[in-house]
């Protein structure tokens, strides 16, 4: 299981957007974010830990998320992330942009 490949590669730059989107649901720790993306995509998208933590660091550095320490469901110390107003704005811009691009791709490919 450890060596199996993710079933679908994420388009570059979409991981940040997905993480932000997950955080719209409230405070989440890294593991929960990864799990949630996997579940919501019906196991199609699997987030590699190797890219998740750099992404979390990056988002925090840009000021789109804020991390704080809290207790997880099983009472362990975990780092929870939440969206900042800047992050919300950025997510809105990104998703609009993404919708345009994928719509355009879909039209060309004749999916729509």
């Amino acid at each position: 299981m450890g060596t199996e490949k993710p079933k679908a590669d994420l388009l570059p730059g979409t991981l940040d957007m997905l993480v932000l989107k997950m955080l719209m649901r409230g405070h989440l720790h890294g593991y929960a974010i990864a799990q949630l993306i996997q579940q919501l995509s019906d196991d199609l998208l699997r987030v590699e830990e190797g890219s998740l933590y750099p992404a979390l660091q990056r988002l925090e550095l840009k000021g789109w998320t804020e991390g704080e320490w809290g207790l997880s469901a099983n009472n362990r110390r975990a780092r929870f992330y939440k969206l900042t107003p800047d992050g919300r704005k950025h997510l809105a811009e990104e998703s609009a942009h993404y919708r345009q691009v994928t719509g355009a791709v879909a039209r060309i490919m004749g999916f729509a």
Partner: protein, 877 residues
């Protein structure tokens, strides 16, 4: 808004960076939580907890790498690596303090020498002269001497190339006597044309420059002076109120009109080694025209003019002037850009120094490379371990380079200290007549140079060892039996090559230094035409209160008489021009000699001397008689010529008894030996000596004495004797003739000494290199040597084998070095004197020296090898 968010981002990044160890810990904890969560999930599926944990770890992968990846979002990867490499480097340096010190010392010496030489080159060749638009200034002389005032005025008026010309009439050491307030003192003055400072773009710091009216007065009675900054500081304690005050110069009142800025160092540019105290106006009048060739000129080119075109124009103008004014001295204008004139003489020597210091740096690098390679042998396992733990080849290479750059930067810190000391020492070499030397200092450019040199040195000497790292196969090195691996053999080959190159470089340096030292010795051995030992001189100008020649002559008589009566005095005489100073010349011909058109009679240098001068200076009389006290105004006008002038005017004839045209006819009463008056290396040229009592045509008077004791012991008694004649007489310093000679050879000695120092350092490094390589190979072959000895090889046999291999390396290095030297020494030719660039004695001597040093460096490890106990050697390992 964009900028502010950037700023916030930067601040956050900085906070992360400053707090990076805490951040790192938290990140680690976060990732551990992630793994723990995965474990729990797997355990919930019914896998045992340890298995689940192992699986989670496997899935997560290398935590260290992941954390580094994550960290690299806020701290660039290379910065983190660099910090780690630096830590490793410093740890390694502490562990191996002995060789670290050695590396730092050698790198420091090399970098210090480079920075010092760079500072000199920067001051003398690279920095522009300290004048406004200095690149448009042109140096204008008459062949290589001065121009007559009327010629100068015509050139100034007629030329189209220059916005203006300005000039100065030499530097007169001790030319003005300052009396009145404080100790009487002889000042060095320089008469300059009215526009001199304007043309150079130099503004007086206080007060003003000369006015046109001040430049119209009689030269002997200047109405105004400008003070140099140094003199103003020394004599007037930087008192600004001195401007407007009246001083007594040569018993005449003179007004101080201004003080020049500290940045204007006339002496260091135009007359190195003779700091000027005051500037006086040089009027362009009929009076100064009568003084003959006096002016050295500087022109400021129009923006679109060039020095070459100006040269062509001046040659044409000079021809016209010669036709229109046959009564004037001939003029052959020679124009060179001022910067070239100022630093041109020093350029070849500086280029040699630059090359020498470059070669020294190469030897330093080769030596340090060798040392690092030797240490690499010891550290092979450390490197292999790092490689096994996942350090890539590039990463190891970078670590090695970081180490060597850190070492050379530490060396550079030491080098900077040396360079500060070195540049200070050079800037204070007052006795040197090299222009701009006083402005040598360690500035920002030199600091930048040092930094670049340090990094380059580190990369250069670290690169070979770093590249060698990859030749250590990981598995092989980790195994203990590490003898004779291919990596080692290659290593030995590289180290031998390094030693050979060190020997070759050292050889080239030694040959260069040897040639220069031999030239220097040749110059010292020259027959100067006078004997500087036990001779000394002092300025004793007659006071300008003496109006007539009778008064002046009786003053001279008294000076000579009192001096000669001092105990320990062998001879005393007077002259207006000392050796290596002054270039006044007159055109003369033999009576009745007619020169065809286009040919000029000879122009001998003129010296006005008293009786006793030839004896005091040690100039040999070749024919006839010397001057006596009886050669007075009332007696027949006489002259003494030197051998060159005698030969030129009356080839194949007896010169004594002939008449020359000077002053309406003077009879030649004697012929004296030629004196090297201009420079040691230059044959003197034509000279004539006029008896002092028959002419008033001199601006200064120097007492020359020859003593039985060292001259400085007589200084005070001479001074006392002169004080009794005139208590107001400012007595200058007592200078020995040997000082004058030393000053004249100082640049040559300086170059020879510096190069000898570099060569000695190179020789030391090369011998250390040989020693290191031979003793390394002996250590490597301890077992082999043990076996040989057990099989009956004698100690002598072993020693000679090792010595032979040493000499083999040396011979190869020597052959390369000699070939390179032979090819390169041609460039030294202009600096050599009486020695050919291929001088066999130098080449053979250097070869013998290198072989001897190499033999010693190889003998020490060879002796150690021959003392190896075979039993111990075989048991070890």
């Amino acid at each position: 808004m964009r900028a502010s968010s950037c700023w916030k981002c930067f601040r956050r990044r900085l906070r992360y960076w400053l707090d990076h160890s805490e951040r790192h810990r938290l990140l680690w904890e976060e990732m551990e939580f992630h793994i723990e969560s995965m474990t729990q999930e797997l355990a919930a599926q019914g896998i045992s907890v340890p298995d689940a944990r192992a699986a989670a770890h496997r899935k997560f992968g290398n935590m260290t790498q992941k954390s580094e990846d994550a960290r690299s979002t806020w701290i660039a990867r290379w910065m983190g690596d660099l910090a780690q490499d630096l830590r490793l480097a410093f740890r390694g340096m502490r562990r191996d303090a002995g060789s670290t010190m050695f590396v730092i010392l050698i790198a420091g010496l090399g970098i210090g020498a480079s920075s010092t030489i760079f500072s000199v080159v920067n001051a003398l060749l690279l920095r522009p002269l300290p004048f406004r638009d200095a690149e448009r200034l042109v140096w204008i002389v008459n062949e290589e001497w001065s121009i007559q005032v009327d010629n100068y005025r015509d050139l100034q008026a007629l030329n189209q190339s220059f916005t203006d010309l300005a000039g100065f009439a030499g530097v007169h050491v001790g030319g003005s006597a300052l009396t009145g307030t404080g100790e009487p003192e002889r000042l060095t003055n320089s008469p300059v044309t009215c526009n001199f400072f304007t043309l150079l773009g130099v503004q007086p710091m206080i007060g003003r420059s000369f006015t046109a009216e001040e430049c119209q007065q009689k030269f002997s009675n200047p109405p105004a002076v400008l003070l140099s900054y140094g003199f103003w500081q020394r004599r007037f304690a930087s008192d600004r109120a001195v401007v407007g005050r009246t001083l007594t110069l040569n018993n005449k009142p003179v007004m101080v009109v201004g003080v020049l800025p500290a940045s204007f160092d006339f002496a260091s540019v135009f007359e190195p080694g003779s700091p000027v105290d005051v500037f006086i106006p040089w009027p362009l009048t009929a009076e100064t025209n009568r003084y003959g060739n006096t002016l050295k000129a500087i022109g400021r080119l129009w923006p679109d003019a060039t020095a070459e075109n100006a040269q062509a124009e001046f040659t044409v103008l000079a021809d016209q002037m010669a036709r229109q004014h046959p009564e004037r001295n001939p003029v052959k204008p020679s124009l060179t850009p001022l910067s070239q004139h100022v630093s041109g003489r020093a350029r070849p020597a500086l280029m040699v120094l630059v090359c020498a210091v470059g070669v020294v740096m190469l030897i330093v690098c080769a030596n340090l490379s060798n040392l690092q390679l030797a240490r690499l042998g010891v550290r092979q396992k450390e490197m292999a371990m790092r490689a096994a733990l996942g350090a890539g080849r590039l990463r190891l290479l970078r670590q090695m380079l970081t180490e060597s750059v850190v070492l050379s930067c530490c060396g550079a810190a030491l080098g900077l200290i040396l360079a500060v000391v070195g540049t200070r020492a050079i800037a204070h070499l007052d006795a040197f007549n090299i222009p701009l030397l006083a402005s040598v200092r360690l500035d920002g450019e030199a600091l930048g140079f040092t930094l670049v040199a340090a990094v380059l040195t580190g990369i250069l000497f670290g690169l070979l060892p770093a590249l060698q790292v990859r030749s250590f196969a990981v598995g092989e090195a980790l195994k203990d039996g590490s003898r004779g691996s291919s990596g080692r053999r290659r290593n030995t080959w590289v180290r031998n090559a390094l030693v050979v190159s060190e020997i070759a470089f050292a050889c080239a340096l030694l040959v260069g230094a040897g040639l220069l030292i031999r030239s220097f010795v040749r110059v010292l051995d020259l027959n100067l035409g006078f004997e500087p030992e036990r001779a000394a001189t002092m300025r004793v100008d007659p006071s300008s209160r003496f109006s007539g020649s009778v008064q002046r002559n009786s003053y001279m008589d008294e000076v000579l008489q009192r001096t000669r009566s001092l105990p320990g005095m062998r001879a005393a005489g007077l002259t207006d021009v000392l050796p290596f100073a002054g270039d006044r010349s007159y055109q003369v011909s033999g009576k009745g000699q007619i020169y065809p058109k286009g040919q000029h009679p000879p122009e001998p240098f003129v010296r006005v001397v008293s009786e006793g001068y030839f004896e005091a200076l040690g100039i040999r009389l070749q024919a006839g008689r010397g001057f006596t006290e009886r050669d007075r105004e009332s007696s027949e006008p006489v002259v003494i010529v030197n051998e060159t002038l005698a030969r030129t005017l009356w080839p194949g004839q007896e010169a004594v008894g002939q008449i020359i045209t000077q002053d309406g006819g003077r009879r030649v009463v004697g012929v004296v030996a030629d004196v090297r008056h201009e420079a040691l290396e230059k044959v003197g040229g034509a000279e004539m000596y006029l008896p002092m009592r028959q002419t008033g045509d001199y601006g200064s008077m120097n007492l020359v004495v020859r003593t039985a004791l060292p001259p400085d012991r007589l200084a005070s008694s001479v001074r006392e004797a002169l004080k009794t004649i005139d208590p107001n007489l400012p007595v200058g310093e007592f200078r020995t003739l040997q000082d004058l000679v030393d000053k004249a050879v100082s640049p040559r000695r300086f170059l020879a000494l510096l190069l000898a120092g570099f060569a000695g350092f190179a020789l030391l490094l090369a011998s250390l290199g040989i020693y290191a390589v031979i003793s390394y190979s002996v250590n490597q072959r301890t077992q082999e040597i043990g076996i040989r000895m057990a099989l009956g090889a004698s100690a002598t046999n072993l020693q000679s084998r090792i010595l032979l291999s040493t000499l083999g390396l040396t011979a190869l290095g020597l052959a390369l070095g000699m070939a390179a030297s032979r090819a390169l020494t041609g460039a030294l030719e202009s600096l050599l004197f009486d020695v050919t660039p291929g001088d066999p004695i130098t080449f053979i001597g250097i070869g013998a020296l290198l072989i001897a040093v190499a033999a010693v460096a190889g003998y020490i490890p060879a002796r150690r090898a021959s003392r190896i106990d075979p039993m111990v050697a075989l048991r070890s390992n």
